[in-house]
Symmetry: C2
Subunit: 671 residues, 2 copies
């Protein structure tokens, strides 16, 4: 149709879209990435009916079912991937997450419950404990003899872990710790396995030795025997939740519970028989963040789970949209396929592009995670990069997955609301991903802090010349457009030609420049506003920071968008020329343009895009990219490689097509 | 703090914010509006524990509970409001919806189930039936002797009602109708009361008399007796859903079921004994839309329910945000209250403003609905206005409610995910509101069609002079800014002064102008693109329309935003000067500025805002409006007037404050 985009733009493409011969199997392999075998095996396990979520199952039965499923996971052996060889594990941290993220296909409750058992409880013992402690506790954790809890969060303190109020006080007279919950706000809360299944817990508490508080440490604490809670331990059930009802979240409290000295997980903090505290990490702050470093694994696995959930939701909604028809096409005997409606393309195609983008981003994150946690490349810098990347991608992926699930649900109308088609309940299950394992808004502030730090490092003592050089290098000629002069020049050059306007933006380099420049400029702007903070008393400095909190979070989000876009682009760069590469380039362009369109106000206000260029973006998305991608949506969905037993939603398995053939047959009989 | 807003801006205000003495009770009365008594009584009914949703209740028990609750509604008498005096009703259509919308406070399933029984099934008999039919069927519907279904949607056709495939064929030999489902796609689907409770249904079918199809008509059809389905009737259960599990949605099909001739609801279409069809409405198209006109009541009540749900969600999240603290405030002994974080204000305050705006918009919609349906002002024009307004507000309110519930849920972290705090399950229950009773995207296209029609009418045969006059009248001097010249002038005039930039936008007239101008310009732009359609063959015209479908939907949405903003402004205009008026003006400014900020790219691209003015908007929201509104959030929430028994979420009832006093007491003991 073309509308506002003149014909010239089309001649730049290599081939007309329909004639591309896309290889869906090759797309699939590319998406499966480095741990393809493990992911494929995990998906096969999820195909077994006993692993499936039963929609509408009452809470108590659902909990029991998921607990039983954990035993199937033990039997399947994937659990071993996470753990050290010294206890019979396979020490494959990346493969471990590649395995567990797929469990979302079976039931998100199963993914999270197994994450509680092995990714949090087990991983805490592994990362915070010493080798003796591994030998003592990991076997029972691995084989599920000891279902356990990761008891960090309290009712009163979630995001602010440093302020938890549970205490572990060393009693010099007996040589053990007294674990104690001083008030209701200090109850451990939202703890998976706490309401029913947990026999033990890693409990985080303020470690007090000789009257001195050494900060938050973790202890291995038995909770229950066959008869129930052990003396001094208590708690209750968090009850039904908005989703994830296969997990028995609950509360725990401790009334002067005696815990043996040896149960302090003592890799980063040790108390000897004489009550002398020691730690290999002198700085209390660094020690705290090292102990909290165990959380990064959970975040990486949530990114993976969000990606798999997005693939599932996209598969269901897009397959239905390719079959479902509604409203007659004038002048024909047929009704129109949903995905041929422009509004439907607007809903689903950018979300499909984002799902691809996130899939590649997760593969990069997983690679970095593996390199650090396998020890292959465990430097301080790599660890910080990993933590920042996970802190950026966890919000990005979890919020995107909610958006994709909701968009998919609405695109399927009434069918989308039926539990059998999985979309509505998928949203409900994923909902809490946005706020647990690090609230998204808080994580984005961590990312912003790192971005500010890097920015400050770059300019410590730098003169104006170096600064200009830095900017020029990073963002080329776009960095000095704030005056608006360049914007005016764009207007003149582009005048009347949308093709010329869009040519500028179409290239990979331009997209990168626009996205990168935005992050840098936003960070620089906030840094500039925050400059006075160093000279202010703490209270006022905090208030100044708070006055720019939204800008900080926005900058961190822009960074996350850039990182995801880069991952998509890296994946394309690594491909051989051909139909698949061309198709993914279009999809990446759709992804990039959607981001630029979303922040078009920023680009306009900061003189990075002329009005003509900004307007051309929407036309280019709708009249160039949608028509190019549309014929290959089936192949792109096939690339996700989800089997019928993984998808299960009847509307994604040909049910609608069958109904329509029946209807057509009936109508032929009438005429 | 001020940041980028110079101090001058402040001097324009009448009073510093903190000193405003707001009257929350008066706010409450204003929000309750014309049917305050009815709404207050309905809320009191919802306070009774037997009316409450039990979170986590298994599907079968939940369904039974909601069915039982319907009987309480009968006993309470509110049901009578809807129905004509001839059958003992009270003929108060506006009051009826004011009553039922409140049931969301008890359980959204109850609101929808009662809507099925009385708002759809009963209302169809009332609107489509004649007085004899009222006397015959309405009493049993009103007192719930006959629970029933509104069987319109089929698996194969939801939005496209005209294409449903169920047939009602007049059999001249017997003088009755044969109701028949020809294939699987023609099964009635998603029908409330169909799976279990329905004893009868209003079934929509193609009416075929003497071989001629007269289009979609409705018949009153018995479904079940004590033993189950009557002969020829069948169906099944839609099973668990993403929410609203207190309703037994199901499917129905009919195998040559004989229905007496008298059971055709024959106000708009009648078949006499000799098999002669007649209708007071000659045009088949108008007849169809008249019959579908029954749906407007459902849409109005969904707007109401969405408003009440938004009030509930805002109440819960804001009360918690006023008590909950996290992270120490440097230099103090205290932790920071959540609502003092800028990101938290960003999340919750614009949603609070939107909740107020929608409350007033619903009051206007309800007034119009009442005037039409009570017959007080039932003109063709008023009916069309009502249908357009409902078609605009239903998408606006339902999507806003989902956004508000989700924002509230996330703002409450883990607490927000617990079912006891109601936010997560509220979102799940409201989810389907966006796609049933008219899919939101489809409704917005109806609105766009009307906007285009009005635009075309205005210009039929008009010369350029008249057109310019029209534009000048509607949008004043803003209409001709596309050249960008005026934008440049703005830049010069405002340069360096954010205060001057914002002064321009701050006034009510400017906000109105910006919002109105945007609707008009968007409609004009689409109309211009669609102009060639009249000369194209139908297939190409449809394709041209489809190429601008997103722009049409965007224009309709802009219209909805304008209408809601106008309602808020009208409510303020009607107030006496004073603290309440000042506060609501700030809140309305926040609402208006948030809209303008959201569409800032459009205003920039179309030369309506200079870069300086566009930038100033965010600063004004964050550094002027938030600090002014912040001290009065408690009063604004109190204005919603929801009692503890209506709210029920423990985190909104002082639980958190209590925990913090305990913690503080403990800490005092330590030091």
């Amino acid at each position: 149709m073309g509308m506002n985009v003149d014909k010239a733009a089309n001649t730049l493409e290599h081939a007309p879209s329909e004639s591309l011969s896309v290889d869906a199997a090759a797309l699939g392999e590319q998406l499966l990435g480095r741990w393809a075998d493990i992911r494929t095996r995990a998906r096969a396990l999820c195909e077994r009916p006993e692993m499936w979520k039963i929609e509408g199952q009452p809470v108590a039965e659902h909990r029991q079912r998921v607990f039983d499923q954990l035993h199937h996971l033990v039997d399947a052996g994937g659990v071993l991937l996470s753990f050290p060889e010294s206890v019979g594990g396979k020490a494959n941290p990346g493969g471990n997450i590649a395995n567990f993220e797929q469990l979302v296909l079976a039931d998100p409750s199963l993914q999270i419950k197994s994450g509680v058992q092995w990714g949090l409880f087990g991983a805490a013992v592994m990362h915070l404990g010493t080798e003796d402690q591994h030998k003592k506790w990991l076997p029972g954790i691995m084989n599920l003899d000891v279902p356990g809890c990761f008891a960090m969060t309290e009712t009163g303190h979630g995001s602010d872990v440093a302020s938890i109020a549970t205490t572990a006080t060393f009693d010099e007279s007996t040589g053990d710790f007294i674990l104690h919950t001083p008030h209701r706000g200090a109850w451990k809360d939202y703890i998976g396995n706490a309401a029913i299944d947990g026999k033990a817990a890693v409990v985080f508490a303020q470690l007090i030795v000789g009257g001195e508080n050494h900060g938050v440490h973790a202890l291995y604490v038995p909770l229950r025997d066959e008869k129930g809670f052990l003396p001094g331990v208590g708690g209750d059930d968090d009850g039904p939740k908005g989703g994830l009802n296969g997990i028995d979240n609950g509360r725990l409290h401790f009334t002067s519970v005696r815990v043996p000295r040896e149960n302090l997980l003592n890799r980063y903090g040790h108390v000897d028989e004489d009550g002398v505290y020691s730690s290999p990490i002198e700085s209390r702050g660094r020690r705290f963040f090292t102990i909290l470093g165990t959380l990064v694994q959970g975040r990486v696995s949530l990114v993976g789970a969000s990606v798999v959930a997005s693939q599932l939701a996209s598969t269901i909604a897009l397959r239905y949209s390719l079959e479902r028809r509604q409203f007659p096409v004038p002048g024909t005997q047929d009704e129109q396929v949903l995905l041929d409606y422009q509004t439907h393309q607007r809903r689903l195609l950018p979300r499909l592009a984002n799902t691809y983008a996130m899939s590649f981003a997760q593969n990069e994150l997983l690679g970095l995670f593996h390199d650090v946690f396998s020890g292959e490349s465990d430097t301080e810098e790599a660890r910080q990069d990993l933590e920042t990347l996970a802190a950026a991608l966890k919000p990005y992926a979890t919020w995107s997955a909610l958006d994709i699930a909701q968009g998919a649900r609405e695109a399927c109308g009434g069918q989308g609301f039926l539990a059998e088609n999985r979309l509505a309940t998928l949203h409900a299950d994923l909902d809490v991903y946005a706020t647990f394992e690090g609230d998204n808004t808080v994580l984005l502030q961590l990312v912003a802090k790192r971005l500010l730090g890097d920015y400050a490092k770059q300019f410590a003592g730098a003169d104006i010349g170096a600064m200009a050089g830095y900017l020029a290098e990073q963002v080329s000629d776009l960095a000095f457009n704030r005056s608006g002069l360049r914007r005016l020049a764009q207007n003149v050059a582009d005048f009347g030609s949308t093709a010329r306007s869009i040519d500028y933006v179409r290239s990979t380099d331009s997209q990168r420049q626009l996205l990168t420049d935005r992050v840098h400029t936003m960070v620089a702007a906030v840094a500039d506003h925050l400059r006075p903070a160093t000279k202010l008393p703490p209270h006022e400095a905090a208030e100044l920071m708070n006055q720019h909190q939204s800008a900080l979070v926005d900058a961190a989000w822009a960074h996350a968008e850039l990182v995801v876009w880069e991952a998509f682009t890296n994946a394309i760069d690594a491909m051989d020329e051909g139909a698949n590469k061309q198709l993914l380039r279009w999809l990446r362009d759709l992804h990039g343009f959607t981001l630029i369109e979303k922040h078009r106000d920023w680009y306009l206000m900061n003189g990075r895009l002329s009005v003509h260029r900004a307007e051309a973006i929407t036309d280019y998305i709708q009249y160039r990219l949608f028509p190019r991608i549309r014929p290959h949506v089936g192949a792109l969905v096939a690339g996700f490689g989800l089997s019928a037993a993984n998808v299960r939603a009847p509307i994604a398995l040909g049910q609608e097509e069958q109904r329509q053939s029946q209807a057509r047959e009936y109508e032929r009989g009438l005429s």
